[in-house]
């Protein structure tokens, strides 16, 4: 469904991605972990066409992701994205945020879009916040609206870019719970995260990225419980025992 083939990317002289390849199959949940600056978010942004890449190819069901090409808008309707800082539209209510894509991009009728949006917000536990503006919602609530907004596009896959990193600790759980539900319904997901518990419980596959390259990949059992590469071991050790 998503094919990342030997991607290279640099910002000026700085090489941030040095030949990354992986496939994501339909219905699969892939978690990308790794230290900050390892290129995790950049890869996700490349898949969504928010960043260009210099070499290699990214294919979504066979169609090449090229930010400079007109086709990018139709590819983006098939792959939604959830951002670290939610990025809701502050001048629109929760309901309007969710309706925006269906009404203006997919040209769904307003009544139909409104019903669907209300249903989705109810699903993420915000059935009572339809008319609330993002400024009146907590971070966890905002991120759940953002997930509903991504779902409203009826995408083939959703990319999550550190969806809980900007949240107060007590709000992380509610977002992860929603993500787990979405995964359980068979959504294809690529999740950049520092939440090892989530990766362990929900991921089908975990990629460990460092220095712009995949160091190790495999099932959560393999990568998280029994990492083979010393750099993976070191990273996990520091994440799990930060005080040592």
């Amino acid at each position: 469904m998503i094919q990342v083939q030997d991607i290279h990317k640099s910002f000026g002289k700085l090489k941030v991605i040095k030949g990354v390849s992986f496939d994501v199959n339909k219905g699969e949940v892939v978690c990308i972990i790794g230290p900050s600056g390892s290129g995790k978010s950049t890869i996700l942004r490349c898949i969504n066409g928010l960043e260009t890449y210099q070499r290699g190819a990214i294919l979504i069901e066979g169609a090449k992701v090229d930010p400079a090409d007109r086709s990018i808008t139709s590819i983006r309707t098939q792959v939604s994205m959830v951002f670290q800082r939610f990025n809701l539209f502050p001048h629109r209510t929760a309901l309007e945020n969710v309706m925006e894509g269906p009404v203006f991009v997919k040209k769904v009728s307003r009544t139909e879009a409104r019903d669907e949006a209300a249903e989705l917000l109810d699903k993420v536990g915000l059935g009572d916040k339809l008319g609330a503006y993002p400024g009146k919602l907590s971070g966890g609530q905002q991120q759940r609206v953002a997930i509903a907004r991504a779902l409203a596009m009826n995408p083939k896959a959703i990319l999550f870019d550190e969806p809980t990193s900007a949240l107060d600790p007590e709000l992380v759980g509610e977002v992860l719970a929603v993500m787990r539900d979405v995964a359980a319904e068979g959504m294809t997901m690529v999740v950049v995260t520092h939440e090892m518990e989530f990766a362990r419980a929900v991921a089908d596959r975990v990629l460990f990225l460092e220095g712009g390259a995949i160091v190790e990949q495999g099932s959560p059992q393999e990568v998280l419980r029994n990492p083979q590469h010393p750099r993976t071991q070191d990273f996990l050790h520091r994440v799990i025992h930060p005080m040592e």
């Binding site: 066409g49 983006r76 994205m81 990025n87 001048h91 894509g101 203006f104 991009v105 596009m153």
Partner: protein, 216 residues
């Protein structure tokens, strides 16, 4: 005859001027808004040639006095075969001159919108055009409106410059009456009061908007 009797004599002629002042102001603001928006969007696209044209234009316009621009359009253009009425030349001149200030204002408004929102809009498949219409403009308006009010006031006052290219607006009418009656005191006091009366409502509206949006 006291001030008010004389004022009553001059007022009908001055009011003809007021009408033209309002017409010049209205169309100059309209033109400067449209052009200013074009320059601002050209910068926003980040396409080098468009950015270059926009920047270059704004720089040139801001570096030349408005009155010289008006002379150029009214007196020089006919030499290359473009004949405009004084009214047309005045509106085009002021409109172009103020488009440079409008562009700066609009650019600031557009750039104040958080990049993350624009990315989010792109990520649900919005085209640049749709992002502009649904995400940027509705929010930028709040930022742009108070300075926009100030610009209208400035255009209103600077519309007096078109008197120099023979448009019989308020200032020009005043000059004509003063020249024939030698009653400079009454005439120009009236002219000043009329400009003030026209700009005060705009000043209050602008202040009101500034207050309202600084709270939001």
């Amino acid at each position: 005859m006291g001030f008010w009797e004389r004022a009553a004599d001059y007022l009908p002629l001055l009011m003809e001027g007021v009408w033209l002042t309002l017409v010049v102001t209205f169309f100059s603001v309209l033109l400067s808004t449209l052009l200013g928006f074009v320059w601002a969007v050209m910068t926003w696209t980040r396409i080098p040639i468009l950015v270059g044209i926009s920047r270059g234009f704004v720089t040139i316009i801001r570096g030349i006095p408005i009155i010289v621009q008006l002379f150029y359009i009214y007196f020089v253009m006919p030499e290359i075969g473009i004949n405009l009425s004084a009214m047309q030349a005045g509106i085009i001149g002021l409109g172009i001159a103020y488009s440079a200030y409008q562009a700066e204002n609009f650019r600031a408004g557009i750039e104040a919108i958080d990049k993350g929102q624009i990315e989010a809009a792109h990520s649900i498949g919005m085209t640049d055009q749709l992002v502009m219409r649904r995400v940027i403009i509705p929010q930028a308006i709040r930022i742009v409106l108070p300075p926009y009010g100030n610009t209208i006031i400035m255009v209103l006052k600077d519309s007096s410059l078109v008197s120099t290219i023979t448009v019989a607006e308020l200032t020009r009418q005043g000059q004509l009456i003063a020249a024939s009656t030698f009653d400079n005191m009454t005439v120009f006091t009236l002219v000043a009061l009329i400009y003030l009366a026209l700009s005060l409502p705009l000043t209050f509206l602008t202040r009101h908007l500034e207050k309202r949006y600084s709270q939001a």
